[in-house]
């Protein structure tokens, strides 16, 4: 398998305090892979995701996307935010079209793409409404539509389900898995930051476990089982306890 994204010896620290937050983290993401990054809270996993996205420059090390060094937000990677980060003053449709800012499509074409995505994600007919009239789950669907509007190959998700209630989160998780596996969307690989071990084990092909500050790579867990996975299966429980032990130990 070809790797689509490579993180090489990335370190990060806050300048004024001089404290290292991330220490020498390296891993690769292959095409078609769902990778979760998990770690104790405050370990810098969201920062790591932002470094991958090109939002923050790393202190040391490099990130390569499709063979090229990431020097700023890269075309080809979409980003889903934990708090949705929708503009309350734009309609849902306009919010999704934000994701098309870097493309040079005509306005009509942009509208078509956004409306198509809304229908696909169960948001049909809500285009002219404002985000604040939506439930949390619907808001995150708008956030996902925005992230995949420009047909990225890699989708970066920063705790995308943690602001949702469990039932809503479960629905959205299975929709994303379905879209990924049916190759219904352009996204080939997903990197998800989470603090929820169960979620990581349920969704990922690989789980990257980070240690506490300064965080470095503690363990990489391959999961070969087919999705959808049975949470009650014996291997599921064992793996969960292993990762928990790593996180708390």
């Amino acid at each position: 398998m070809d790797s689509i994204l490579a993180v090489e010896h990335v370190s990060f620290g806050f300048e004024d305090s001089g404290i290292e937050v991330i220490e020498d983290v390296s891993f690769k993401v292959n095409e078609g892979e769902f990778v979760s990054i998990i770690g104790p809270s405050g370990c810098g996993k969201s920062t790591l995701l932002r470094i991958i996205a090109g939002l923050i420059p790393p202190k040391k090390g490099k990130v390569y996307y499709a063979g090229k060094k990431v020097g700023g937000p890269a075309h080809g990677m979409g980003f889903v935010f934990q708090d949705f980060a929708l503009m309350p003053w734009l309609t849902n449709l306009e919010n999704i079209k934000i994701g098309l800012a870097l493309t040079d499509f005509e306005e009509d074409k942009k509208n078509d793409i956004a409306i198509g995505l809304m229908n696909k994600l169960g948001l049909g007919g809500l285009g002219m409404q404002y985000p604040n009239s939506l439930s949390g789950g619907m808001k995150q669907r708008v956030g996902i539509a925005r992230a995949i509007a420009a047909a990225p190959n890699v989708l970066l998700m920063d705790e995308p389900f943690s602001a949702l209630d469990e039932l809503t989160a479960e629905n959205l998780r299975s929709d994303i898995v379905y879209m990924l596996e049916s190759q219904d969307i352009s996204v080939k690989s997903i990197i998800m930051v989470t603090h929820n071990v169960e979620e990581a084990v349920e969704l990922s092909d690989r789980v990257i476990v980070l240690s506490n500050k300064p965080s470095h790579l503690k363990r990489i867990e391959q999961i070969k089982h087919k999705r959808p996975r049975d949470r009650k299966a014996a291997w599921f429980g064992n793996m969960e306890s292993d990762i928990y032990a790593d996180l708390t130990g």
Binding site: F81, W89, I98, A101, S133
Partner: protein, 534 residues
Amino acid sequence: MDLLSLILRLIVDTSASWLRMFIALFFSVIIGMLVGIYAAISDRAAKIILPVVDVLQTLPILAFFPFVIFVVVSVLPGSIGINTAVIFLIITSMLWNIIFGAYEAVRTLPKEMVEVADLYRFSGFDKLRKIFIPASIPRVIEQTRLSWAIGLFYLVTSEIFSVGNSKYQVTYGIGAALVTLGATNIYYYFIGIAVFIAFLIATILFFFNPLEKRFSLDETRDVDVMGYKRAAALVSTVRKISYVERATKLLVSGSTKIGRSGARFAMRARAPYPGNNRPVKKERSGRFSRYMPYAVAVAVILISGYFAIQSNILQYEGEVLIALFATLARVWVAYAVILLVALPLCVYLLFISGNKSRYTSTFQIIASIPATILMPLIVIAFKDMPFGPNIVAFLIFFLSGVWYVIFGITSNSGVLKSIIEVKNVFGVKGKDAWKRIYIGAVLPGLITGSITAIAAEWNASIVAEYFTSSGISGTGSTVITSVGYGMGKLLDLALNANNIGLLALAIINMILMIYLINFFVWKKLYKRVADYYK
């Protein structure tokens, strides 16, 4: 005058001004707390108090000062009357945010606390003493910083105004002293400004900071650490001289507090972003409010028709309208320039520079100095130019209003971090960014900031449009600056001529104009913003 006696005189003047400020603050806190608590515990009272306070705080109360001073002095003659009028005026500037502060504090009180009190059969007075007053104290104290900053503008401006009208001049006051010095010796004037700023910093350090530390509920907020960080950025070039560093640190931490509470004030009432816990007010439903402005317009026509029968009122009304529109034009031209400067600046600070605190702390130092204090300088620099008086008025208006817009917008950064990330990750740039991101992001803060800014401009008009030296030279009166037509000028002249009818008519016209602008401009914009957050 030798330097020592000048400084002593200035200290006496500033102390006199500060005494007025503290008396006004004392009454404002007591009245504000009681009214705010009453509004919070009685829904019926809230229905009347909140809308009234909302209107009162958008009125340029200083423009009514000539009227107030006329009435008060005719009842209480001499310096007692003038001081009463000045203190009353400062109270009217300090009170409103304190009322809202107390109201919010009690409204956000956990319901269980009141239930406990009911359970143990507290009397109404006991509830007030043991629950409502202690609960509202931290919020009210937080608000007093802003009250102080606004009050200072009113105080200085009203004192300067009194100098232009020898009959009504305050004997001691830093605002009065500064214009007198400005007209006689510019070097002394700068010493006066230095004394004023020294008092300002001392008040913040030795009064407001300890007070807030003592009563603040928020243990995590460390006043000094915050100020120090900003100070460190500012004084990096003079780091070696330790006393400069220390002085700057004190100055910055002090002014930062005023600026920040100013910003908080701008946010307080209206901006419906998260972090502002006062719920967005629902539009009053029903025909009554919808047709209200039209009813008002009809009433105006009928009343003016009635007065038209009396010919001199008709003539007054003509004068008032010309003056009103002249000042309106100046105020809005200055406001347009404020927007041209403040919008790109704020967008740069919030979205592009990534280090807004370093710049805003610099602004906050400058902004805590009332703009009208610069009157003498501006007059000297511009009065002999073509359109000199108009330039003077314009500059004072600009300086009085611009900070409110800047702080209104920059304080609105609660949701900004993720918005900046969205902008970067999806590469929204240029015109697209203005249309889709900047304007929407700054709009709530822009509206609140603009309303306060325009009120501040009107306030400044009573000294910026017309000013004479009667109180300076003592004999006769030289016009120092005077525009052709203007509301500030009209109010000044009407007061000097004891023309109570003209004063009253001018005020009625101003109230109507502000009411109509609020209704047709700001309410509409608010409604649009409120729609997003429904």
